[in-house]
């Protein structure tokens, strides 16, 4: 501390902690959306830094598509319990049944779009006025334009043309009843920043982020996890066994694995530094439908 200068990771960390505390200070009933993925695990770690020795001023909320990696779900339950923080889980399965929703079928069908219904129902059920999420601006072009405090109307919609100006580090969370704010504390972090932070802070991650042998479906050059009842195999599919890791952890039906020998954090970071393909481009099948796929989902209330 002799030079009075913060390293970039310290600057990003301090900014994220400030944003979390603004949520605690400005809202009545916030929540932290937790998926078991590395970005939301990083958020939990930042919340510890922001609020300990106190309790979190919000529960962890998981919108469970039912299409999870078991490793991620186990990790989620373990983490919430070991921290003594409240975990709320709501299931897309239940929404489908109650609302008689038609589930997408066919190849590469995913529950990502249906997740929005469950999320909005959960927000209504608990009257959440702010939901903290782990989205980053480097993930995708539409995200690059989103504010840290992103105000959504009663239908959860994002209107890119009516975003509030956000100046200095002043966050305006004033809303009307029924509206809510999505808050993104790690907006300014890149994928590599998250990994470097996880390494520096020695944060535990689910094992699927590291290289392991696994049975997979080889489809259109992408490796999908085999999951009974979730992914229907097709004639052209090949079942293969490969040494892989997952670069993101999303819905199992649309998250592809990458072949890898990186079984430590150092090795995973080295791989990410060397890669020439973006995170979503490599592993998310759902964003490749159209140029504006993410923008459309966000306008519809997606996270």
């Amino acid at each position: 501390m002799s030079t009075y200068k913060l390293d970039y990771l310290d600057q990003l960390e301090s900014e994220a902690i400030q944003i979390m505390r603004e949520v605690a200070g400005q809202f009545e009933r916030p929540a932290l959306l937790f998926s078991g993925g590395k970005d939301s695990i990083t958020l939990v770690h930042l919340a510890l830094k922001a609020f300990r020795p106190g309790k979190f001023p919000f529960p962890l909320v998981h919108i469970d598509t039912g299409h999870n990696f078991q490793e991620a779900t186990d990790f989620r339950d373990w983490l919430a319990e070991s921290l003594g923080e409240k975990l709320i889980v709501r299931y897309v399965e239940d929404t489908i049944r109650e609302k008689k929703l038609k589930e997408p079928t066919g190849r590469n069908a995913s529950r990502n779009a249906l997740q929005t219904f469950t999320l909005l129902d959960t927000i209504e059920e608990f009257e959440f006025d702010a939901c903290i999420g782990g989205a980053r601006r480097d993930e995708e072009k539409a995200r690059a334009k989103e504010r840290v405090f992103s105000v959504r109307d009663e239908f959860g919609s994002w209107d890119p043309k009516l975003q509030r100006p956000e100046l200095w580090n002043i966050y305006n969370g004033k809303i009307h009843k029924g509206e809510n704010v999505r808050v993104f504390p790690i907006s300014n972090w890149t994928e590599l920043d998250v990994w470097n932070y996880i390494k520096r802070e020695n944060i535990d991650l689910p094992s699927i982020y590291f290289a392991h042998e696994r049975e997979l479906i080889l489809r259109d050059g992408k490796l999908l996890a085999t999951a009974k009842g979730v992914i229907q195999t097709e004639e052209s599919d090949q079942i293969v066994t490969r040494r892989v890791r997952f670069r993101t952890v999303g819905d199992i039906s649309c998250t592809a694995a990458v072949e890898s020998d990186a079984d430590t954090l150092e090795a995973a970071i080295a791989e990410i530094q060397a890669t020439r393909i973006s995170e979503r481009g490599e592993t998310r099948i759902d964003d490749q439908v159209s140029e504006a796929a993410m923008e459309d989902r966000k306008k519809g209330g997606y996270f």
């Binding site: 334009k145 004033k174 890149t190």
Partner: protein, 417 residues
């Protein structure tokens, strides 16, 4: 490694998006699949050239109209530094977006078309950069390829710009002749302009000295949240959570809580449950005070020997950001850090023509994107520093009381009678 946030200002025709695309491309920050997507999209265009601007325009309507509507953030790093590019639209109707983008930046790149020299929008962009207190300015004279890489053209623009800079309160100015399209002086030194002895843009961004930018003199700590576990073992724990906006706090410092004026000393400084003897801006910390004083969210803790202005009559530069005009006498919520109070607009002292810098004294209302000097009367006193001295503790926003939208950016200047 340190971090530089910089804004690029320019309009469609200045080649701003091409410049950003070039920085990302030549610094190898564009990944293979993103490049393929651009190549695919470029093929559907008439000229078939790879359009680096497609990298930055993220929204459907932006791609359709070929313009940038909102502020976008880009990230890249070199071996020397990490960068956040704040990509703001330059057209006059998006002044508010540029103000938004500029508020956090340490450096601004103002693009000038070598064929046109200093034009109206150069003046506007420079005014905003200076008003928002950006300490480092780069005047990037682009499209040098279209003027035969002429040193005379470059020198003349520098002379013109320097005259303009004299009228503004701008920090250090650096002039770089470049061609974003061809890559001259963006990442690599141009072979076409051997007369230019300075560095290319990227080297300049990597080496510009940032150490003096953080205000380490005026210790300011807005309280965001009070941590009170209220468990049997932590029964008396009471920690004030916040981010130090400027200055340095040390254990044992005599402090004053504003606006109440109560005094105490710092008993402990905590970061993630570890104790430290000192902490400085921009760290997020937990402060503990020695005495049982009344402190809550919205209070500002300062060192007692260095106090800000505490006043209900405030003079400020204002950028109006809402379609509904501001009228003298209207009431708004003012948010300054974590502090909120109601306020009324007492007077518009003058309105500024953002292109000519002329001042008009007869304005009764302000339209979207107007900039003016105003006097506000607040319900509770605001504890602030003049913006020129302290960017974070000198900035505030106005919030519309019915729509809840942020409608104005305030650069607080001082107290009036």
């Amino acid at each position: 490694m340190d971090l530089l946030r910089f804004i690029t200002a320019g309009s469609v025709d200045d080649g701003k998006s091409t410049l950003i695309g070039r920085l990302l491309y030549d610094s190898k920050s564009i990944l293979a699949d993103q490049m393929e997507a651009i190549e695919r999209a470029s093929k559907s265009r008439d000229d078939g050239e790879i359009d680096l601007a497609l990298l930055t325009d993220g929204l459907r309507s932006e791609r359709e109209q070929g313009i940038t509507i909102d502020v976008a953030y880009r990230y890249f790093q070199t071996t020397k530094r990490k960068f956040i590019i704040v990509d703001a639209p330059g057209h006059i109707q998006y002044t508010r977006n540029m103000v938004t983008g500029a508020s956090n930046c340490q450096l601004a790149v103002v693009l000038v078309d070598a064929r046109h020299g200093v034009v109206e929008q150069t003046r506007r962009h420079s005014l905003i950069a200076s008003m928002l207190g950006i300490p480092h300015l780069v005047v990037a004279i682009n499209k040098m390829d279209l003027v035969g890489y002429s040193q005379d053209v470059f020198s003349n623009i520098c002379i013109h710009y320097n005259e303009l800079a004299q009228k503004l309160n701008v920090g250090e100015v650096t002039y770089i002749p470049l061609s974003a399209l061809n890559g001259d002086n963006v990442v690599d030194k141009s072979v076409n302009m051997p007369w230019y002895e300075g560095e290319p843009l990227l080297s300049h961004l990597e080496t510009v000295v940032l150490d003096q930018d953080e205000n380490l003199t005026d210790a300011r700590f807005p309280v965001q949240y009070v941590i009170r576990p209220q468990t049997p073992e932590l029964h008396d724990y009471r920690g004030y959570a916040g981010k130090i906006t400027s200055g340095i706090f040390r254990k044992g410092d005599a402090v004053t809580v504003l606006p109440t004026g109560e005094t105490s000393t710092i008993d402990a400084i905590e970061i993630a449950e570890k104790h430290y003897d000192e902490a400085f801006a921009p760290m997020s910390v937990v402060l503990h005070l020695a005495d049982d004083v009344d402190v809550s969210r919205g209070n500002l803790i300062v060192k007692s020997d260095n106090q800000p202005i505490v006043s209900q009559n405030v003079e400020a530069l204002l950028c109006w950001m809402d379609a509904k005009p501001l009228k003298v006498g209207s009431k708004y919520t003012l948010q300054h850090g974590t502090f909120r109070t109601r306020c009324a607009v007492r007077e518009i002292v003058y309105q500024l023509n953002v292109n000519t810098y002329e001042e008009f004294t007869d304005a009764e209302s302000l339209k979207l994107n107007d900039i003016a000097r105003v006097i506000l009367k607040t319900a509770k006193p605001v504890s602030f520093d003049p913006y020129g001295k302290n960017r974070v503790n000198g900035g505030a926003i106005l919030i519309d009381e019915t729509s809840n939208v942020t409608v104005g950016a305030l650069m607080l200047q001082g107290e009036v009678a």
